[in-house]
Symmetry: C2
Subunit: 238 residues, 2 copies
Amino acid sequence: MKKYEMILQDLEEKIKNKTYQENDLLPSENELVKIYDASRATIRQALKIMEEKGLIQKQKGRGSVVIASSKLNFPISGLTSYRELQDSLGFKSETEVIKFEKITVDSELAALTLLEIGTPVWYIIRTRKIDGEAVVLDTDFVKYDICPDMTKDDVAYSLYDYLEKQLKIEISFAQKEITIDFINNEDREQLDLNPLDRHIVSVKSHVFLNDASVFQYTESRHQVDKFQFTEFARRQKR
Amino acid sequence: MKKYEMILQDLEEKIKNKTYQENDLLPSENELVKIYDASRATIRQALKIMEEKGLIQKQKGRGSVVIASSKLNFPISGLTSYRELQDSLGFKSETEVIKFEKITVDSELAALTLLEIGTPVWYIIRTRKIDGEAVVLDTDFVKYDICPDMTKDDVAYSLYDYLEKQLKIEISFAQKEITIDFINNEDREQLDLNPLDRHIVSVKSHVFLNDASVFQYTESRHQVDKFQFTEFARRQKR
DNA sequence: CAGTGGTCTAGACCACAAG
DNA sequence: TTGTGGTCTAGACCACTGA
């Protein structure tokens, strides 16, 4: 393991431990240099990541404050898959695979997915049940060439788990869009919706690999009262 | 201006210019060292920021690819205020200040805002109109001590503009939560809602200063069909 | 004032991608 | 094999904070 990762891990542990408490200052960078026998640049790399994660807030001339994140409810934000989310919250959940087939991108689909016309893709539709109630409808288009041997069972568990852990594919970033759409016939068919509801939350994502190519397009449709999205956001300097 | 900021600005300009086109590789870090007469660490600092902004994707052993962001619709994400959003989209918008008064945080409000009981705060309610239609209802609690001289006119234009540009307050980060709530009486009163709608999008934010203290709590309630949220998210390594 | 984090330099070795 | 980005070092000066 890299040195800055070890330092990072140790500092995170000590924050969980309450060795460093909320609103305390961490040891100064120069002290951390001595503690971990590392250069200041290496220490700063670890601290940078902690700042991005929302664990500390650095202040020039003062030090690094441990952020009172326990006051805040939730992991923090980012690109999180359904299973990870459920695991972290401890809900019982099931996935039903409605459709699992190989198709080819046509012109209409190309505009939606940003994949090129003619690209073979897996076309996957799944419902997600929590406590027996179908609350999420997922539609996925995944580049076939990346994962030709994928099976129905793999996607029933977790698509991301299969791609990242089994195939060691490196997912790099995603562009997401959240909007509120009208409920359509398929939503009614597949989900357990309140008859009075007219709307559904739609989360559309383009997911990219390390080489900056699109490899997946997903739409997740969530029952409105089961939906929650949290984000830790740093203010952009312009 | 700092050296890495100048390099950053120049590279961003050259991407907008199409000097460096989408899916092209930037010059290598060692070439950039020569071009800008800087150390590699300084070059890397500029590139790091570009990667975080979603402008480039770095690849070990290959180089830095310019991301095809023009395929994607929208600025990118982050903590964005209403006026900035409207400016960037070129909509005509008006703000009406419904309430603007000084109150003191009681125990109920303390739990909501994470401010301490007894803290004096500005209590502000505003509606946002686009093309004459009231679509957003904002409720703000802002620490009074930070901005005692604030006026109704300041918040009618833009709260963030006043705090950041006039008072030079440095907003550091925010924790946001998006949920779908039931429409309440105040929503009906203040917003131009479809009578058939039962739900509204609620965006709740705790906003923090550089010293990691809460200084504002905001709830924005958006008419469902006018709401859109986009995010550029990098995959977290665990 | 002393100590902090922010910026910058010049060098080094490594793992990885591509030809 | 060559060149890339990733990691790491040892040093330096600066602007800022708080006593």
